[in-house]
Each structure stands twice: as structure tokens, then as C-alpha cells.
Symmetry: C2
Subunit: 483 residues, 2 copies
Amino acid sequence: MANKDQNLTLWYDQLLSKAQLVSYGDVKGTNCFLPNSWNLWLQIQRLYNNATALIKLKDKVILKQFIPIEPLPYTVEQVQLPTLSFYSEYQKEKRHVEGFNPELFLIEQIGTKKLHDPLVLRPTSEIAFCNLWKKQSFSYQNLPVIYNQWTCVFRAEKNTRPFLRNSEFYWQETHGLFSDGVNSESAAIAFWKLYQDIIVNQLCIPAFVGLKSPNERFAGAQNTWTVESIMPDGQALQCATSHDLGQTFTKPFGLTFQNQANQQAIPYSFSCGISTRILGALLLTHSDDFGLILPWKVAPIQVKLYLFDKKGDTKTVELAQKVQTLLEQLAIRFQFIKVENQLGKQLGQGEVNGIPFQLIVDNPQTVNIFNRLTRVKTAYSFEQLASRFVELVQQYHQAMYDKAKAVVQQKVVQATTLKQIEQAFNDKKAVLCAVRLTDTLEQQLKERYQVTVRCCLEQLQKPQICPFSGESAQDYVLIARAY
Amino acid sequence: MANKDQNLTLWYDQLLSKAQLVSYGDVKGTNCFLPNSWNLWLQIQRLYNNATALIKLKDKVILKQFIPIEPLPYTVEQVQLPTLSFYSEYQKEKRHVEGFNPELFLIEQIGTKKLHDPLVLRPTSEIAFCNLWKKQSFSYQNLPVIYNQWTCVFRAEKNTRPFLRNSEFYWQETHGLFSDGVNSESAAIAFWKLYQDIIVNQLCIPAFVGLKSPNERFAGAQNTWTVESIMPDGQALQCATSHDLGQTFTKPFGLTFQNQANQQAIPYSFSCGISTRILGALLLTHSDDFGLILPWKVAPIQVKLYLFDKKGDTKTVELAQKVQTLLEQLAIRFQFIKVENQLGKQLGQGEVNGIPFQLIVDNPQTVNIFNRLTRVKTAYSFEQLASRFVELVQQYHQAMYDKAKAVVQQKVVQATTLKQIEQAFNDKKAVLCAVRLTDTLEQQLKERYQVTVRCCLEQLQKPQICPFSGESAQDYVLIARAY
């Protein structure tokens, strides 16, 4: 494989192929998700679903205590909405149609029959949800209603790369309907925090979080909150967003509800989503020149246990069985494989595939553990293993985050002067600084440096001087080139 | 609600709306799956996934013993393939394109840009899987490869009804690649048997199983095995199918593998699927004039436990908590709700939504159980409940199947003469009989009686006389009108 530090692009393409993650679809920008990537996505689905489930699950996973994910105080229900809608419906919200128009897939024919009103493949589902809600009747008493769907969306893209930018990609989109704007804003913020938890605490990806500038908001949103991460090449990757949509969609689509005063009023809505792009962030952040490295919490197979015993030694077999029982008790997702030959080849494939721990039992006394992150093999007695396994997992998890954090820190410069900023951009790094956030500044950044304001992290109490305009600067922002 | 026996069509539409199962999409033949139907589909996904999982799960559900579902001896891996492919690719398999051509959604434009080669939305994914496999290299040692995806497909339909016939519908499709035709046929049969298990043993839907006639096969299949059920109106509903595709697709798509003699050979393939149409079968078979009735195994919420206690009696609260603990121990999917008022309204909604058991604790001595199937409310002491709950569930399950079976038996006539057959068709019933299965007969059945041969159940050892042609009849078939 190519060297990750020297040629990230080539390394990424080789990783996709070597770890059997995707295969290219025939149509530009489409991908086949092979088991190694789709199972990862299913694990991320599980994290989100557990936190938002109608029946709050009592997670029996013993190892969960060190990576908590709190259930949300909202009830989210799973639905599935059509892929197809009428193009004419898109005309109803001006900014929305402008935002998506060039990327829309248009269906003008079925079999040999021409259509009068073309159909479009959803680029996102605000319109489908509004059209559904229009047919239901709501009072303030049965709001909010929060629906989620795991699905795909379609946006024809020019420059495509698996996971990072696709014409058909997979995501989860949650849409909520509220009786007032305060509640819809609170929900947008609550889901944004859930994404932070998933991305930072579960996937070990360091993140910068804040509000998008008006120019960078979702087409139709009043406010967009984002979780941004910095990849090893200094570019920012938008990992998840949450939008307070106010009445932008509910008004033109004619939605109403009965308010407390018994009158018809216009409801408020929000939407949010995390997409398969997070798999791109995961790969770029954690993997190395030897293949995939997976966070413990989402590794589809967390442990592979090999019994390598040609002689058929009863005691060796017994030890392997004891380890198997231990893994079951710890509620670990593991595979138990009896290997006759070519153990090295199997271990090698396990390494490329990013199995966190590979355990080898080939004698009656010790268990060898190969740690994918450190690439160190260590021998443990069964008693040591039983008492220390939880700790090993905790260390793995923490070390993964620390390693990623160290890389991000090298790629982000805290700057106060224009010189520092320009130097950072020259070095292909991202910048944290106080600016006066204006349309002019954003335009200038794009044209002069090909960078964008990724998010506003906070409003400074004590204004500084904007390095670009020399004016008073209160917006503390992340500026970077973006995927 | 309309009377199910008197007006099944009206009753079905009212059920869809009253039990909040679907809402109609804007585009003809598309639906919004609301939580009450989508959660059901997710439960069916769980049944299939558990039986085919890579890591064979040890199902901790204590109640599983009376409804076994055996893991398959195949490893199925989850993937996700693109929705879009090129229309030109469809030309490669003649029967396939003929089978689907009139129903294809064609994309000829993206944004304002016209496409040279139109794109199509998949009506099924044989082509996508062959195009994926073409890029991978296989030897006899790493075959079979079996992939599954949970996804949607698109077929523009003229007469549409939610679940039963849709232009966009959801399904699971499993596709496998094999080194020889015997193995691909065995797999097609094994998955057909898995569907039988899901449909009959888990969903309690009585079924007829057998081979499709050459005219009724999947476009491109060598053999299609089907699971057919008879609805209360005497019409047959195709619940699941499995196809031995031989080399029909692998040949024109140029697939090869290295065989044991170290030569390049053409592999064999199979595909199979169960769709959201099974939800239609579920509704039509089990539900009644009071709403939905759900099989225990797939009810998203199996039990609702209400604590209805205005006085705040400690002993009543304690009893409810003891029941809650019991339900947890039994690994039942339940909701625990404290009700202050309008208990009747809640129970009514629970009935419409088909919750199998609703448990009411409103005094310190007894638990009232409302059984959705029998609509009988019975009081139990906690000790009775604890010792008898598993039995109650078993009875519920068996009674549901028996009830459905009795309805089917009324709608299916075993016939030997043309007079009996014509009488049955006049009475809108299905027919089981021995025939000489020919193209002429199938044509005649369609034209004269608007019925089709749904499947051939067996080849009789001892031939009979075909009531239609008077010739020797060895095919014992199910004939019916179909959804």
C-alpha cells in the first residue's frame, strides 16, 4: 500500500480495494457497498437507533460503561418515504430548488410512455415529509412528531469519491414537526449533540462543532449546526448537520395544526442527518499503511479467536473454549475459527480488515493477543486475560482517540494575524481564528485561498481584531478547504 | 370499519388508515410507510437476518422454543448496490429486458443536462450483482459467495394498492454465485424453505409451496420456487420466490471463475426475495373488523403494560413493577405506561394497532389481560401470570394459525372434474387439482376464467385424468386468481 503520509489519495483508493470496502458502480458516483463497509454502516445505524428508540433498550453490553451514549429525551419513530416525487413540488420552496436543481435526476419516461410532469429522485426528503404531514391532522397535544428514515438520496456530483462524495449515498434523516420555534430549535440542537457523541465518543473522531454561516446553511434552513472534522491532509469533512427549518417548508406546503387557543396555526420543523460520508472520515482518520483500523464500538467483528492446534491437544482446545465463554459473557461480537494451516494469512487479512483484537490459542498455557492499533502481539494467561480484557478495550479506545487528536492538532493552526493564516493555508492546514464574518469575507476566502468558513465555534465575549478586515471580530471560526 | 367478510376491499383500505399503516405518496403507486407498518417490516428483517447471519446469534429470547427458526447452513453477507444502472446493460439478457421493459423508470436528464445513455431505476438487481461480480476474481475455493441487500425496487404498475402492488416497494434480495449448477439449485431450494418457515411458522400464514410453470417463472430463471397463500377473498398472493438462474445472467455478463482443473469456467447463480407484499398477506389473513392482529413473533410491541392507579396505592404500583420485571426476564418487547385517565381510549388504540396482549394493573391483587386475538379480558394473580404466560403466548400463536387455516380451507376446493372446478371459480375459490400442465392449458385458464396456475405442488406418482384436456395428468397444481 501507498504511504498514508506521503500520498493520502492513492493510499485511500488502495485501502478501499485492499480492505474490500467498495466496488465502483457503473453509473458515475455510485458504489457497491461490500460487506466490510455495509456492516460498518449497520453498526452506526445501531448506535443512532439505540439512542432514539421508542422502547429504550437496556443495553446488556458489559463494556458500554466507558463509552456512554445517552438515550435522547425524544421518541423517534422509524418510517420510510418514497424516493420519487413530482418536479413541480420542488418549485414550492425557492431556495430549496435553487440549492438542488443542477443535481436532480429527472424521470421523463416510463417504459415507452412520456410523462407530462417529470419525476425527481429525492436529493433530501423535506418535501416528502411535508406532503405526508399535510395529509395528517395535528393538534398541539400530539406534537412534536419525530420521524426517521434510513435511506438513500441522489445528487449528481461532478467529482466523486467513494464515501466522500457520491451521486447516490446513504444516510439517516430525521424530520420533526413542532408547535413552536423554540421546541424545533431545541430538537435541532439535541440531535446535533447526539451526533457529536456518536462521532467523538463512539467513533473516536476529533471534531469541531458550531453554526454554519448563512452562506453555508442547508438550502431552506434558518440555522444549520454542524460537526466538522479535520482529515490528515488538513481538509475539513462535514460529518453531520442539524437544521432548524422554522416555517420555511411548513408554510409553502400549507401545513397547519390546532393550537392551544383552538385556532389553526403553522407548525415549525427541523431536520438532521448523518451519512455514509462518516465512513470516509473513519477511514481517513484511523486507518494506516497496513489497512483498516476500526473503533471498538462499531467494529462488526470485534474479536477473532483462532484455535491453531494441529496436534489436537485437549488442553489447548479447552483453553480456546474458556476464552470463547469469556467473550460470550462480555457480549463481544466475535468469530471463533479453527485453523489448520495458513494462520499467518488469516491474521494478515484480519489486520487489513481492521479486527481490533485477534486472539490466538496454540498452546495450553497462553493466549496471544494481536492488537490492531498498536500492532503488538502479547501473551496472556487465561486469568490475566479474564481480569484485564475490559481494560485492554478501554486502552484501545482511548489510544485511538488520542492518536487521531494528535494528527488533527498538527493540521490546525490557531492564528491571529493574516501572515499566520496565509502560512497555514500554504502548509495545507486549517485555521482557527476570530473574524468578522461577512459575505465579503467568505467570498474573499473562496477566491483567494479556495477555503471556506466551516463553522462558527463561538461568539467571543471580548472582541478581537479581524485579520482580514481590521474590524472588530467576535466570531471564532474554523476555516479550511473542504471535501 | 367495513365488514371484512362482506367487503374486503373497503375493509382493507379502512384498516390501512385506521391502524395508521400507510399514507399515499404523491406519485402513483408509492407509499409512505408509517411507523406501524415499517416497524413490522423491520421485525421481518430481523427474522431473516437472524437465520442468515455471519455470526450465528444465540437468541436469548426465552419464548423462542415454540417457534423455531433454524440458521441456514450458508453465510450471507449484507451489501448495498446502486439503484441506478445503464439502460444499455438491460439489453444483454433478452428475456429479462422483455420481462421488465414496460415498467422501467427512465432517467434521460440530470438538472438541465441531457444524457446520451439513459439510466434506469432497478426493477431487480441481477444486473447490478453481475456487474459487481464481473470485477471480482473468483476461484472454486472461494465460491459460493452469497450477498443480501435490504432495499427498494421500482416497477411502474397500472393498478396499485398499498403493500399488494406498488411502483416502489421494499424487499430483501439475496443473490449467490456458485461453481456448479447443483449447488445453485440447492441454495435456491434452501432459501425457499427458509421463506416457508418465516411465512408459515413465524407469521402464521398457511401456504402452498411448489414450482412455477415455465410461463410464470421470473424473467430469466431456469426454475422458480414459490410460496403462495390464499387470501380470504379466494385470491392467491405470491409471498416469496426463489430462482435458480443457471448461467442465464453469468454468461452474457462475461463472468468467469477458476475451476478445479485450473481453467476459466462460467459460474451459476441464484436469487430470491421476500417483499413488503408479505405485509399485505399479513393484514388480509389475520386482521379483523376491530383492526390489526399481529403474530407474536413480529409484533413490534408484544405487550403493553398499563398501571392505572389514581389513588397511588403502593401495593398496586409494586404489582405493576413485578409484572414489568417478569416481562424483562422473558425478553418480551413491551411498553410500560402509567395512565392517569382515558385508559379505555388507550386500550382501544392498542386493539386497533394489534398489540397481542394488553396488561392492566389497577388493583393490588390481579392483572387483567386483554388478548387481541380472542378479544377476551381475563384476570390473573401474579403467580398464575408468571407460571402461565409462556403458555398463553403459545396458545395465541397456535390459535392464530388455526384460525387462518380454517379460512383458507373454505376458499380452496380439491377438484377432479371440470364441473367442480368451474363451480369453484364461480364461487371465487381456488382449486387444487391434477392437470396436464401445458401452454395451451395456461392460456385457456387465463382467457376463460381469469385464473393462473400459481404453482405445481407435486408430481403425482399415479397419473389422473386432466379435467381440461382429458389427457394423462401428473401435475398437482394450485389454480387461482392472483393479486
